[in-house]
């Protein structure tokens, strides 16, 4: 390969989808590239013109426009275009492209493009648009999670117990008892080297010949009536299934399942370094979050609980580092958050005495959806029994609410800036009042009530009489589908926060071509998505709170076109993951996690995926207007669309959802 082709190759190798290509394909592409310079302002591709190459931007920048004249994308160094046109049967240009700067283009001939698509699945999946790319990425992330990437050696924390074949069964059992081990490895000195020989500290060659487990003591010793003086070598299992210390935990687990064993000797350069037991894997998988939850319930004061707050953050960062997906991370955080709340309520009850009337403490917003991130604040409320008498019981529940909300604040769940907390008398009401609230909000929506709906209609019981909160969930699921005005108004609100178009160099690019320095991934990504999913979920009478579960319910109704719920699911997972990783990095660097991501920290591949995710939200937002049309009712000023206004704006930012 010529040196100038090396330069071409080196440039391409930095950018998706070329970055993951095998060397041989990258060489082939670099060897076939053709070059041409275009001046700023030149039209590069005209609509409907035939296209025979993939265009790669070596330097400069271009813009693509939709038929309507709307900006579709802005691309710069390392970006490619023309691939969707090449994949169409007629190979004609759909979106016109112009150079907005002096631009040097590398052309990759169509036949080379085809060959690479055929030979490399990742490349093909990247260029096939329509949400496919996002799906692939999310599924790859899932595959990469935990078990796949964690190596066996990480789970090994002690030396294996080893005996020679001549050791008696009794001696071996004693050794196992003393070391609290569930098996011994049987080794012997050998002259010949093999796959199982290693050099001991004594310089001699040793060979791993067998294993004897506590199960073997039952089946091979007692059941067979062997004497305790029998040499281990006579009864040990010679069928050795081993694993290497750098093997993935996932492979090790598969090996156990395949071979029906619970113990796997772990080798490092043929030397046994430990034994992996099935229970080690189970413990590893559940360790992080469950351990902490367990810890929460043994603390005896809010002060003690508050000391656990840093552990929540480190546990969060560890889960992310271990490759957990967004659902795993968020559900763990929700479980932990609920545990704190429950424990605080138990402590409050032991301090204030038992509750005078039954109640249920409920969480709202992201905690109810089981989608909190590490910087979530608290949103909660109290549902009281209908026998509640403010004069008799008011003081008790006020004190209870203060105890819990203050405690949560101390434990790292800051007070809700929008005052959606049980300490607010308005949100500490008997069940019948709550039912009246919810009914009013749906029958006669206005700006404030819509905002409340979008917080309170994500609700879940945490402590006390769960059926009270469940009856509220039932009420919403029953009424909402029959309230088209409410749904239309909620749908309109769900469009008030829009995703950006994508990224351009160091900037976030808006639909009008404006550039911004950073993106709030919650406000511009996950929140608009949960908002629009909520509208559909309410419309189809779903009682689910979690966005993924809601999408499952929506998928069953055929309310959305085929594949749309799937795209939204991938979009949500991907955006959540970027946001979570961003926060985990902040935790690791010891800075306060937030939702604001700097495009400079977003990789080449992530940019493409995020653009797809934004597009999925954008399309889904547009669909809301078609699906939920405001019924025209004359004479009723309350429900006139224009009077509903947009309550979002500043108010919505104050309330965490």
């Amino acid at each position: 390969m010529n040196v100038e082709q090396l330069d071409i190759r080196g440039h391409m190798a930095q950018f998706a989808p070329f970055d993951n290509l095998p060397d041989e394909l990258l060489d082939r592409i670099a060897g076939e590239v053709e070059i041409r310079y275009f001046q700023a302002g030149t039209e590069l591709l005209v609509k409907d013109q035939p296209i025979d190459s993939l265009w790669y931007i070596r330097s400069g920048a271009v813009e693509m426009y939709q038929r309507s004249g709307r900006l579709f994308n802005r691309l710069s160094e390392g970006d490619i275009f023309g691939y969707s046109d090449l994949l169409r049967s007629n190979r004609r240009v759909r979106y016109p492209v112009s150079a907005i700067e002096d631009t040097l283009i590398y052309f990759i001939p169509g036949d080379v493009f085809e060959t690479v698509c055929e030979e490399d699945d990742d490349f093909a999946e990247f260029v096939e648009t329509g949400g496919q790319r996002l799906k692939v990425t999310v599924e790859q992330q899932r595959d990469d999670s935990g078990l796949m990437t964690t190596r066996v050696r990480k789970l090994i924390n002690r030396q294996p117990q080893m005996v020679e074949a001549t050791t008696t069964l009794q001696q071996a059992a004693q050794q196992m008892r003393d070391a609290n081990a569930t098996c011994v490895l049987v080794i012997d000195v050998t002259e010949t080297q093999s796959a199982y020989t290693f050099t001991g500290p004594d310089g001699r060659h040793w060979k791993l010949n067998g294993i004897l487990t506590d199960r073997d003591f039952c089946t091979r010793v007692l059941a067979e009536g062997k004497s305790p003086q029998t040499p281990v070598g006579d009864v040990m299992s010679r069928r050795l299934i081993v694993t290497q210390s750098d093997e993935s935990v996932y492979e090790a687990m598969l090996s156990m399942l395949r071979n029906q064993v619970h113990h796997l000797p772990v080798l490092y350069r043929r030397q046994p370094v430990g034994v992996l037991h099935l229970s080690d894997i189970v413990r590893h998988e559940t360790h992080s979050s469950l351990f902490l939850v367990n810890n929460v319930f043994v603390q005896n004061s809010p002060e003690q609980l508050a000391k656990l707050a840093p552990e929540v953050r480190t546990g969060f960062a560890r889960m992310v580092a271990d490759g957990a997906n967004s659902e795993m991370v968020c559900r763990a955080l929700a479980t932990i958050g609920r545990a704190f709340t429950q424990r605080l309520l138990e402590l409050a009850e032991s301090e204030l005495g038992p509750a005078p009337v039954p109640y249920c403490f409920m969480v709202l917003g992201s905690m109810a959806r089981e989608e909190p991130t590490i910087n979530a604040d608290q949103d909660n409320a109290l549902v009281l029994d209908d026998d509640y008498d403010p004069d008799l019981h008011g003081e008790y529940f006020e004190a209870l609410a203060s105890f819990v909300c203050d405690g949560l604040d101390a434990c790292g769940y800051p007070y809700c800036k929008g005052d959606v907390m049980a300490t607010n008398a308005r949100w500490r009401q008997p069940l019948h009042v709550w039912k009246r609230y919810f009914t009013e909000w749906m029958e006669e929506p206005n700006g404030e009530r819509l905002l409340h709906s979008s917080i309170f209609f994500d609700l879940a019981p945490v402590h006390g009489e769960a059926p009270m909160v469940e009856s509220l969930q039932d009420l919403v699921a029953e009424l909402a589908p029959q309230r088209p005005i409410f749904l239309a108004a909620l749908a309109r609100n769900a469009k008030s926060r829009t995703p950006p178009l994508g990224f351009f160099r160091k900037f976030v690019m808006e639909h009008d071509g404006e550039h911004r320095k950073s993106i709030n991934l919650k406000r511009r990504g996950t929140a608009p998505l949960t908002d629009l999913v909520r509208v559909h979920a309410l419309a189809c009478g779903s009682k689910a709170q979690n966005t993924f579960t809601r999408l499952d319910d929506i998928a069953e109704t055929k309310l959305l076109a085929d594949g749309v719920t799937e795209r939204l699911r991938y979009a949500f997972e991907f955006m959540s993951m970027v946001r979570i990783r961003h926060q985990a990095e902040a935790v690791e660097q010891g800075i306060e996690p937030d939702n604001s991501v700097d495009p400079e920290n977003i990789g080449s591949r992530e940019r493409h995926n995020l653009k797809d995710a934004f597009e999925a939200i954008s399309n889904a937002q547009k669909f809301l207007s078609f699906r939920y049309i405001m019924p025209t009712r004359q004479g009723s000023s309350k429900t006139e669309p224009d009077r509903l206004g947009s309550p979002q704006g500043s108010a919505s930012h104050r309330v965490s959802r």
């Binding site: 010529n2 100038e4 330069d7 041409r36 310079y37 001046q39 330097s59």
Partner: protein, 241 residues
């Protein structure tokens, strides 16, 4: 001021006639067949001209004392450059390679040691140039060294029209009334070196001083210069020297 270089233009040789007369007189078969291919019609629009960018790395600047150490050629048109068509040769200089030029070109003594003499590449090089208009950055170097190298080995020199991207750059940035005004005002002259010239057209930076990379860089520069200051209809006679 323009009359001055218009006057100069009149004194430049008529390239088709020159090549035709050389074809008649030259005995050496390889040179004869090169000249027989002739050159482009002076009226050919640059946008339709087959071009070839060429770059030499040399042991010094004096064609009579220094040698060529590497040659890069890159056939192209204004429409496309195909790096795959480019050729590159490292040559063994007849005179010693100085340590300074080693540092400059990154061509090492070891590379040069096993390299062929210029003589060995003439059969490959001349057909790549024949029928195409040669594009170089600073024609004095390539023209002088090519002429000298051929003369030494084939007994007769070789001259042909060339487009010099450096002199195109000089016309724009040094000889225009604006450039003269700037110089009169004491402002520094615009650099017309390859890298700096490319920057004016927002072309990317390449690692310099490799004959093939520089010939690619020169080809890209010409594409940019034509778009900025001329157009594809400009006759080659307005550009070649």
């Amino acid at each position: 001021m323009t009359w001055r270089w218009k006057a100069k233009e009149k004194t430049q040789p008529n390239w088709p006639d020159y090549l035709a007369s050389r074809a008649q007189r030259v005995r050496e078969p390889r040179l004869a067949s090169f000249y027989a291919r002739g050159t482009l019609d002076p009226a050919t629009p640059i946008g339709e001209a087959p071009l070839v960018a060429m770059d030499f790395e040399t042991t010094g600047l004096d064609g009579s004392r220094h040698d060529i150490v590497s040659v890069g050629v890159m056939p192209f048109t204004l429409e496309r450059i195909r790096p795959a068509d480019g050729r590159y040769w490292v040559l063994s200089p007849r005179r010693q390679l100085s340590d300074e030029s080693v540092a400059f070109h990154h061509i090492t003594h070891a590379e040069v040691a096993g390299a062929p003499d210029f003589n060995a590449i003439i059969d490959d090089l001349l057909p790549m140039l024949a029928g195409r208009l040669v594009v170089v950055h600073y024609r004095q170097l390539e023209r002088t060294f090519l002429d000298a190298a051929i003369r030494e080995r084939l007994g007769d020199g070789l001259l042909m029209p060339m487009i010099d991207t450096m002199s195109l750059e000089a016309r724009i940035h040094r000889q225009s009334w604006w450039a003269r005004l700037r110089r009169w005002a004491g402002r520094p002259m615009a650099s017309i070196r390859l890298h700096e010239s490319r920057q004016r057209y927002h072309l990317p930076a390449y690692t310099g001083h490799h004959a093939l990379v520089d010939s690619l860089a020169t080809a890209e520069l010409l594409q940019a210069q034509i778009l900025y200051h001329y157009d594809w209809q400009t006759p080659v006679s307005a550009l070649w020297r």
